[in-house]
C-alpha cells in the first residue's frame, strides 16, 4: 500500500472517530442538562469543552458552546470541521474505498456542512446530533462489510482506536484527575448525576449496568472504562485493537523497521492489561491517564517513522 494512502486512511479514521465522540458528547449534554440545576449543567459543560478542546470554556451558555464545538468552521476541532477533514482525506484516496463507503461519507458531509446552529436549535437540537451519530454508525457497518479487511482496513482501525484511547483517557482525566490545571474557575468534583453522564458520554451506561448493576461508583466506572476487555469504548479494548492492527500493517517491512512500533504498543498493552484500579488513587490516576495519551503519541510517531514518512535512502 502506498505510504500516502496509509496516511490518508489513518487520518480519515481519526477524524471520523473525533466526529463521533463530539456528536455524542453534545447529544448527551443537551439531553441531560434538562434534568440538572443550572449550576450543575454549567460545570458539566466546562468539562465537555475541556475534554474536546483542552481549554477552559470562555462561556457556559449551551447555545454558544454548541455553536463553537459543532458548527464553527474556523474551529479545526469542531464537528463540521472533523467531518470535512474526514471527507477530504477520503476524497484523496477515493479509489481505495468501496463505493458504498465513499458515497455514504460524502452524503453525510453534504448534509451537514451547510448546517448552522440556527437551523438546528429551533426543534430538539439533540436530534441533529443523534442523527449524525446514527449516520456514523452506518458508515462503520458499511465499512466493515464492504471493504476488504486488508492493510487499508487495518490502518483505518489503527487511526480510530489510537484516537479513541486518547479521547476516552482525556475524558476520564477530567472527571477523575486534577480537573484543570491553571483554570480560573475549575468545576467542583463530579456529583452522582455527572457519573451517569460520563457513562453516557462513552455509550457505556447500559453495558456498565449489565456488568456492575445500576450501582454507580466512581472506582467501578473507572475500572470499566479503563480496564474492561470487552467493551468497545474502554481504553483497554482500544489498545488491544491498536496492537492487533499494527501486527497486520506493512507486513513486508523487515523486522528492524517494525521493532519500535511493536515494542511501544506492547508496553502500552501491558500497562492496561495488568493495571489495577485499587493502585490508582488521586494523583496516580492522573499520571496514569496522561501517560496513556503520551504513549499513544509515541506509537503514532513510530508508525510514521517506520511506514509512512520514512527516509527513502534508508530502504534503497
Amino acid at each position: 500500500m502506498l505510504a500516502r494512502v496509509a496516511d490518508s486512511l489513518y487520518w480519515m479514521a481519526r477524524y471520523i472517530e473525533r466526529a463521533e465522540h463530539t456528536a455524542r458528547l453534545i447529544a448527551v449534554k443537551l439531553e441531560s442538562m434538562i434534568e440538572q440545576s443550572p449550576e450543575d449543567a454549567e460545570n458539566s459543560w466546562i468539562r465537555v469543552v475541556a475534554a474536546l478542546t483542552g481549554e477552559e470554556a470562555s462561556t457556559t451558555d449551551a447555545h454558544a458552546i454548541t455553536q463553537a464545538i459543532a458548527f464553527d468552521r474556523t474551529n479545526p476541532s469542531s464537528l463540521v470541521s472533523s467531518l470535512r477533514f474526514a471527507r477530504d482525506n477520503a476524497r484523496q484516496i477515493r479509489e481505495q474505498l468501496s463505493t458504498e463507503m465513499w458515497e455514504h461519507l460524502n452524503r453525510l458531509y453534504l448534509s451537514t456542512h451547510g448546517e448552522t446552529i440556527r437551523s438546528v436549535w429551533v426543534h430538539q437540537p439533540a436530534q441533529f446530533f443523534r442523527q449524525t451519530l446514527e449516520d456514523l454508525f452506518t458508515l462503520d457497518g458499511v465499512t466493515y462489510s464492504t471493504l476488504r479487511h486488508g492493510e487499508g482496513w487495518r490502518f483505518l482501525e489503527l487511526g480510530r482506536y489510537i484516537e479513541r484511547a486518547q479521547l476516552v483517557s482525556r475524558l476520564l482525566d477530567i472527571h477523575f484527575g486534577i480537573v484543570a490545571p491553571g483554570y480560573k474557575n475549575p468545576p467542583p468534583p463530579p456529583k452522582y448525576f455527572d457519573w451517569l453522564v460520563l457513562l453516557k458520554f462513552c455509550a457505556a451506561f447500559e453495558p456498565y449496568c449489565k456488568e456492575y448493576t445500576a450501582d454507580l461508583r466512581p472506582e467501578k466506572i473507572a475500572q470499566f472504562l479503563l480496564f474492561d476487555a470487552e467493551f468497545p469504548h474502554s481504553v483497554r479494548f482500544s489498545v488491544d485493537r491498536v496492537v492487533e492492527s499494527l501486527a497486520h500493517v506493512a507486513t513486508g517491512a523487515p523486522p528492524n523497521r517494525r521493532a519500535a512500533c511493536e515494542r511501544l504498543a506492547g508496553r502500552l498493552k501491558a500497562s492496561v492489561d495488568f493495571g489495577l484500579i485499587d493502585e490508582l488513587s488521586g494523583d496516580s490516576i492522573d499520571n496514569f491517564l496522561v501517560n496513556i495519551t503520551r504513549q499513544c503519541e509515541q506509537i503514532h510517531d513510530a508508525v510514521y517513522k517506520a511506514y509512512i514518512a520514512y527516509d527513502a535512502e534508508t530502504v534503497l
Partner: protein, 506 residues
C-alpha cells in the same frame, strides 16, 4: 399531456407501444417538444421536415408518455447521483465552499450502428497515421525531407520535444489514448474538428452518464439495443499492459497531479476501475534509472505509468524545474527503457491546429489510403493566399490560435463586433503563422432537457481511441452539449455539459 396520448407512467408500460409511431410527431406540436426549434444545423432526432428519425423512435415514444414532472424527477435523480458520487467541482465564496456537479443531460444522443462503424474505421486509420507520423519526426524525419509538411512547423513547435529523438517507444505507439473531437456537419456526415493527443479527459463522464441514463430509461435502453461501453477500463488496462510485451506481472500506476486537479475524479475513477495504484509525483522516486513507489513496506517498482500530468510538469530535471507534480529523474528512466509512459512525451506536436490541416495528407503519405473521415476546411494563415482570403472574410470565419485549446484565443467572426475583428486582424498580420481559420461550422443539434421541456442544443462527440499492440475503440464516446440556446461552445469550462451516447445495434 397531449390528448389521446396514453399516460402510462409505470416503467413496464413503454414496452407495450408499437415500435414506430403511427404518425410522426413534429417539433412544436406535442408537449415535450413545444419549444423545439429546427435550424440550418443537422438535427440528430428530427429530419428537416420534422419527422422523427427511426433510431430515435423508442426514445420519442417514451418522452411523449412521460408527465413533465416525471422528466424533471429523473433529471434530478441523475444530478443527485453525480453529487453523491462526487462528480463535482468546488465553488468558493465568502469562506463557504459549495459543490457543483459537472452538468449532465438526461436525454441520450443516439447514433446508428452503420454510421458508427464508418466513424470507427476512420478513427483507427487516423490514429495509425498519427502514430507513424510521430515515430517518423522523432526518428529520421522522412516526412520532412519529402516536403509533405514544413520542417519549421514541426521543429519550431513548442510541443516538439527534442529530448524524445531516438527514444524507443513500444509498438511505435506514441499516442495510447486519444480523444478526437468530431462534429456532424449540415449534410449529416461526421468530420474531425481536432485531435487530442496529450492527456485527453472525459472518459469517466462517458461511463458515469451511461450509468445514470440507463437507470432513467431502462426500457428504452433495452429496446433500443445499445452497444455496451463498460469494457473501457478493461481495454485501457489491456492497452497499458501490452506496452510491456514480455512481462508476466506488470505493475501499472495512474499518475495524477492531485486532488485539486479538475479531472481528479477521472484519475481516481480509472485507477479504481482498472484496479491499479493511483499515484502522485511525491509517491514516486527514481533510483538507478528505475521508478519506485513508496509503500508502507518499502519501495515497489513501477513498469507503466498512465500519466495524466502534462509533458512540461513531468520531470523537473528535464522540463519545467518549478514543477512539483512530477518526478525527478523520470525522463532518464524512461529513456533507459525502464518505465513506459502513456502517452509518450512530445505527442502535442501532432495535435497542433496547424498540423491538423495536414492530417489528410499524412494519411495518404503513410498509409496510401484516402482519409475515411473528413477534416474541416482549414486555412493556414502562414500561406499568403490563405491569409488574404481570411482577412477579407473575417466576418464569416472562425480564427484560432494554433497552440491554444479549450476555446481560448479564438475569434468567432459572425458573432464578433467590428472592433474585435479589426483588433484580431492586426494580430493576424503581425503573426500569421500562429493562426488558422475555418468556416463557421454549424454543430448538429440534439434533444436536450432544458426549462422543463425538450429543446434542440448543439453537440459534438469525443470518442476515445486506445492504441497499443492493437487499436480499440468503445462505441460512442462523450457527447458534449452547449446548454445555452444557440451557443456552439461545448467546452465544460464555458458552460457546456455532457450526455450519454448510444450506438445502436441496427
Amino acid at each position: 399531456m397531449q390528448k389521446g396520448v396514453p399516460s402510462g407512467l409505470e416503467l413496464g408500460v413503454e414496452d407495450h407501444h408499437p415500435s414506430t409511431p403511427a404518425k410522426p410527431v413534429r417539433p412544436g406540436e406535442a408537449a415535450p417538444y413545444a419549444h423545439y426549434e429546427l435550424s440550418a444545423a443537422y438535427d440528430e432526432m428530427f429530419t428537416p421536415k420534422g419527422h422523427v428519425r427511426a433510431h430515435y423512435g423508442q426514445l420519442d415514444l417514451r418522452l411523449l408518455t412521460l408527465e413533465p414532472d416525471e422528466l424533471l424527477r429523473r433529471q434530478q435523480a441523475c444530478e443527485q447521483s453525480f453529487l453523491h458520487q462526487g462528480i463535482t467541482f468546488t465553488v468558493y465564496s465568502d469562506n463557504q465552499s459549495t459543490e457543483r456537479i459537472i452538468p449532465t443531460d438526461l436525454l441520450p444522443r443516439i447514433v446508428t450502428g452503420a454510421e458508427w462503424d464508418r466513424v470507427e474505421r476512420g478513427l483507427k486509420q487516423r490514429i495509425q497515421a498519427l502514430n507513424l507520423f510521430l515515430r517518423d519526426i522523432y526518428a529520421e524525419g522522412r516526412v520532412l525531407k519529402d516536403g509533405v509538411i514544413p520542417r519549421k512547423l514541426i521543429l519550431g513547435s513548442k510541443h516538439y520535444r527534442r529530448e524524445m529523438r531516438g527514444v524507443a517507444v513500444p509498438h511505435g505507439s506514441y499516442v495510447n489514448v486519444c480523444g478526437s473531437d468530431l462534429i456532424r456537419c449540415e449534410d449529416g456526415h461526421f468530420a474531425v474538428l481536432e485531435d487530442n493527443l496529450r492527456v485527453p479527459s472525459g472518459v469517466s463522464y462517458m461511463l458515469a452518464n451511461r450509468d445514470v441514463v440507463r437507470r432513467a430509461f431502462p426500457n428504452v435502453f433495452r429496446a433500443s439495443r445499445v452497444r455496451p461501453i463498460e469494457q473501457y477500463p478493461n481495454e485501457l488496462l489491456a492497452t497499458l499492459k501490452s506496452l510491456v510485451p514480455f512481462q508476466e506481472d506488470v505493475s501499472i500506476a495512474v499518475l495524477t497531479p492531485g486532488v485539486f486537479n479538475s479531472a481528479f475524479f477521472e484519475h481516481a475513477f480509472l485507477a479504481r476501475q482498472m484496479g491499479v495504484e493511483l499515484v502522485e509525483g511525491r509517491d514516486l522516486l527514481v533510483n538507478d534509472n528505475v521508478v519506485y513507489a513508496r509503500t508502507t513496506s518499502g519501495l515497489k517498482r513501477i513498469d507503466v505509468i498512465y500519466r495524466r500530468v502534462d509533458d512540461d510538469f513531468i520531470d523537473p530535471l528535464v522540463f519545467r524545474e518549478d514543477s512539483t507534480l512530477g518526478v525527478a529523474g523520470l525522463f532518464n528512466a524512461y529513456r533507459a527503457g525502464n518505465v513506459v509512459l502513456a502517452n509518450a512525451l512530445g505527442t502535442g506536436v501532432a495535435d497542433d491546429k496547424a498540423v491538423y490541416a495536414y492530417v489528410p495528407r499524412l494519411i495518404r503519405y503513410y498509409l496510401s489510403e484516402e482519409p475515411i473521415l473528413d477534416n474541416i476546411e482549414t486555412f493556414l494563415c502562414r500561406e499568403e493566399k490563405s491569409l488574404s482570403h481570411v482577412l477579407a472574410n473575417l466576418d464569416k470565419l472562425v480564427v484560432k490560435a494554433v497552440g491554444e485549446s479549450g476555446g481560448y484565443g479564438m475569434l468567432v467572426g459572425p458573432h464578433a463586433s467590428q472592433g474585435e475583428r479589426e483588433e484580431f486582424a492586426r494580430k493576424l498580420k503581425a503573426d500569421p503563422e500562429n493562426y488558422i481559420a475555418q468556416p463557421t461550422i454549424q454543430l448538429s443539434t440534439a434533444p436536450t432537457y432544458v426549462n422543463g421541456g425538450v429543446e434542440a442544443r448543439h453537440v459534438d462527440l469525443r470518442p476515445f481511441i486506445l492504441h497499443g499492440e492493437e487499436t480499440r475503440i468503445v462505441p460512442g464516446g462523450l457527447t458534449r452539449v452547449a446548454l445555452k440556446k444557440g451557443s456552439l461552445v461545448v467546452n465544460s469550462s464555458q458552460g457546456g455539459g455532457s450526455k450519454d451516447t448510444w450506438v445502436l445495434n441496427d
